[in-house]
């Protein structure tokens, strides 16, 4: 499903020279014009990482559970403010922009997700989520890097980290290094010297990619080749149409993802992050502000996908490395915990609340939301939906949760 077989990278670059105009064209017209360099219907997974350990209990609120209110005298979301989804489950009021998606059956909540043996270290937990492995030491490659390895070959830019300049472990291990982009200016190569910009760029490419290297230098030479390819492709997108997005880290990141989707560069996996969820102290206002940013950006993304006709092929998965402890702490915050709800958004998603309600009984400070669903069951579902064999990515067989149908 990833594009015309037999075309080389170079062919695709040439054929994608018409991209700026293409990005502005209505899709059927572009298709009729026969200009698409890659499969326009390629399914796309957007992974949103809430960094720091999102307080899942105050995101997807078990508002009818007395234990919840007992454990959180200060922080509990008052039932009157909670946005009710079902008889026992509500959203934090700051997530109101997501209600239209819920009403249209495009928002799913999967409760009690995490690794089989949760860990309270940010790094260890992230490592498990990023590598899909519970081995220690963890593998050096990520699950989305493996996905990208399976998807590439035919065309385009299969994976991107948008909105930041660090490449997440999840994307490590692809044959072609994924770019970590904040904006399109990031891939503009300046040229110094007297020879003219085009000649200097060509010289840099030849010098960097020349053969005869070993070890780290050879690895870097390959990475430089990827960088030149990426620069050429993305240079074509300047001036393409954009939607209206909220400012902030996440809004800008999702704006870029929407732009890349609209431009048909073969994107299949995108990673974005939203930082600041490690709410050990004075959580209430800060957490609400984070959720407001999150829902505004996700809602804008959904609107833009609808506008550009990409809604049917995109699923968004929102995760965090762990949930937080059931009981609030004395600093008006919450400490590192275990199981957490996962959010899924998009037309391919089976809307609704899934998974067992969290068991909040227990009165010690250490009490955690139990993990009832191995996070890799969600990965298995995403892989099946993307058309990537699970065995190439996951360390074992995991029964997919039936949440991606479209």
């Amino acid at each position: 499903m990833t594009g015309a077989p037999g075309l080389s990278r170079r062919d695709l670059l040439i054929s994608s020279a018409s991209l700026p105009a293409l990005a502005a064209l209505p899709r059927p017209l572009a298709r009729a014009a026969g200009l698409l360099p890659v499969d326009p219907a390629g399914r796309v997974l957007v992974v949103v990482q809430l960094t720091g350990g999102n307080d899942g209990l105050n995101t997807v609120v078990p508002f009818a559970d007395d234990d919840y209110h007992r454990a959180r005298p200060v922080l509990a979301v008052p039932p009157a403010q909670a946005l009710r989804l079902t008889d026992d489950t509500a959203l934090h009021p700051a997530l109101a922009p997501l209600l239209p998606l819920w009403d249209e059956g495009r928002l799913a909540v999967l409760r009690g997700v995490g690794p089989p043996r949760p860990d309270r270290s940010h790094f260890r937990s992230m490592e498990m989520w990023h590598t899909a492995s519970t081995d220690e030491p963890a593998p050096a490659t990520g699950w989305l890097g493996a996905v990208s390895r399976e998807l590439e070959g035919a065309a385009g830019l299969p994976a991107v980290r948008a909105g930041g300049r660090d490449l997440p472990l999840a994307l490590a291990g692809a044959r072609t290094q994924a770019p970590a982009l904040v904006g399109l200016d990031d891939v503009l190569i300046e040229a110094a010297g007297r020879g003219g910009a085009a000649a200097q760029r060509e010289r840099l490419r030849c010098a960097c990619c020349a053969g005869g290297r070993a070890g780290e230098a050879a690895w870097l030479a390959d990475a430089a080749g990827d960088a030149f390819d990426c620069a050429e492709r993305l240079a074509l997108l300047r001036g393409a149409a954009r939607g209206t997005f909220p400012g902030g880290e996440l809004g800008r990141a999702l704006e870029l993802v929407a732009l890349l989707l609209g431009a048909r560069v073969g994107l299949r996996v995108a990673c974005v992050t939203h930082d600041g969820y490690d709410t050990h102290a004075r959580q209430q206002a800060g957490h609400a502000a984070l959720l407001r940013d999150l829902s505004a950006a996700l809602s804008a993304f959904d609107g833009q996908l609808t506008a550009q006709g990409d809604r049917a092929r995109v699923a968004v998965m929102v995760f965090s490395e762990f949930g937080r402890r059931v009981r609030e702490n004395a600093s008006g915050g919450t400490d590192h915990g275990a199981g957490n709800p996962l959010l899924l958004l998009g037309e391919p998603v089976a809307g609704g609340v899934h998974g067992a309600p969290p068991d909040l009984r227990g009165d010690d400070d250490e009490h955690d939301v139990p993990v009832t669903i191995d996070f890799r069951r969600m990965y298995a579902a995403a892989l099946e939906w993307l058309g990537v064999p699970s065995a190439a990515v996951l360390p074992d067989h995991f029964a997919p949760v039936p949440l991606l149908t479209g």
């Binding site: 270290s121 260890r124 994924a178 891939v187 300046e190 230098a217």
Partner: protein, 439 residues
């Protein structure tokens, strides 16, 4: 027979740590000098390489790692910058740190402070008060060479660290485990060497270690002086007892020796070698300078496994290029570019610091490095005499020698020689090469 005796006397790990002896183990010429200077000083001028060759490895390491009082031009520069020191401005403070790295004739103290900044990674993004960060890094600079315990004790009382890891929320009846967890996991032992109970009890020991108005303050009423058990020590432990208990564990020496080795030597140390190193580190009372000097003199360091084996971080890449070429970059602009390359001083991405190594590299950072190289190329072309003085010439031969020990494949060399007479284009091209990204 002699071979057998030699291997009986020294295990391979110990042999790898023996000092490199020129003409017995191999040559000690300009390439070896450049390698040493890349690791201690990020880069080197022709004159610095000549001096190191003259001194030989042992004396060179001693000299390069000994701080000297600022004098001459460098002292004048620090004097001129002094009025900016106290500003609550991230960009200004980053520029000042870069100025030190670029112009200190012996920057090892700052190179080491940068290592510790990654180890005890604290970011102004949460702390908010810039001067607390500046003071933290001053402490890393002052104590970074010395024994580890005083450094760790200073970090545990450091106001920026307390703000960063929620020390003020760590109270007698409501311990906050944030600092205690990172102390065990990142700062001393590493994962797998403690359990959740150690974290909880250690947090209790640090209750009442608070920060008020940018100063450390011990608040007795908030300190839990009850009985605790941490890492096998028990009693009415306080924070300092916990730090001592950490250092008493062999895992602490292993963790720290491993981090220092991977940062200064290469990324694939043999476990036996690390074990020998860890034992020596612990037995020396965690004397960091002694450990580093031993490493920098060693066969392992000067042998083939360490040469160009590390991906240079953005700061080391830029500072090294500027020092080697005698450039005077605008430090504010440089700080901006380095942030774009993934290394914002005083603002590491999280408590784990920068991942380093290959994680520095992706298509966007590669392009960012080429663009930094372009700006350095233009700077080099503007001051030909400075370039001549630092690198010994402005042609491809001189620049390849100065920056890359003349070690590039023929295909790349041909492209560079085609840039004859175009200093800016040539400098950009040399600094863009894969080899130039390696320390």
């Amino acid at each position: 027979m002699t071979l057998l005796l030699a291997s009986a006397a020294f295990r391979p790990a110990e042999e790898a740590l023996l000092p490199w002896r020129a003409d017995v183990d191999g040559p000690f010429g300009p390439r070896e000098a450049a390698h040493l200077l890349r690791r201690t000083s990020c880069g080197s001028t022709l004159a610095e390489r000549r001096r190191v060759v003259e001194l030989g490895p042992q004396r060179a390491v001693a000299e390069l790692t000994t701080p000297c009082e600022p004098q001459g031009e460098y002292a004048a520069l620090l004097g001129a910058l002094a009025p900016l020191q106290g500003l609550e401005d991230l960009a200004v403070c980053q520029s000042l740190w870069l100025a030190r790295l670029l112009h200190d004739p012996r920057p090892f103290g700052d190179v080491l402070a940068l290592f510790w900044h990654g180890h005890f990674a604290t970011s102004v993004a949460k702390v908010g008060r810039m001067q607390l960060l500046v003071r933290q890094v001053e402490a890393l600079r002052a104590l970074g060479r010395g024994p580890f315990l005083p450094l760790l004790a200073a970090v545990a009382r450091d106001p920026a660290m307390i703000a960063w890891l929620d020390g003020n929320g760590n109270r007698r009846h409501h311990p906050n485990e944030n600092f205690a967890r990172e102390l065990l996991e990142l700062f001393t032992l590493g994962r797998g060497s403690y359990d959740e109970r150690d974290v909880r009890e250690a947090a209790r020991a640090f209750t009442g270690w608070h920060e008020r108005d940018g100063q450390f303050r011990f608040v007795p009423a908030e300190h839990d002086d009850g009985n605790k058990q941490v890492l096998g020590s028990s009693g009415a432990l306080d924070g300092d007892d916990v730090l001592a208990a950490c250092l008493a564990r062999p895992e602490c020496a292993r963790h720290l020796a491993g981090r220092l080795f991977r940062h200064f030597v290469h990324g694939n140390p043999e476990p036996e070698l690390l074990e020998v190193l860890a034992v020596r580190y612990r037995e020396s009372g965690y004397d960091t300078l002694a450990l580093l000097r031993e490493l920098l003199c060693s066969r392992e360091f000067h042998g083939p496994r360490a040469r160009r084996a590390l991906v240079a971080g953005p700061v080391a890449f830029a500072v090294g290029a500027a020092r080697t070429l005698g450039l005077l970059p605008d430090c504010r602009e440089l700080a901006d570019r380095l942030a774009g390359l993934g290394q914002s001083l005083y603002a590491p991405p999280g408590v784990k610091g920068w991942d380093g190594g290959r994680a520095w590299i992706n298509p966007v950072t590669i392009i960012g490095r080429m663009n930094l190289a372009a700006s350095f190329g233009r700077l080099a072309a503007e001051r030909p005499s400075a370039l001549e003085a630092a690198a010994g010439g402005d042609d491809a031969t001189a620049l390849l020698g100065a920056l890359l020990d003349d070690d590039v494949p023929d295909g790349a060399r041909r492209e560079l020689f085609a840039l004859r007479g175009d200093v800016a284009g040539l400098v950009q091209a040399v600094l863009s090469l894969p080899e130039a990204q390696l320390a």
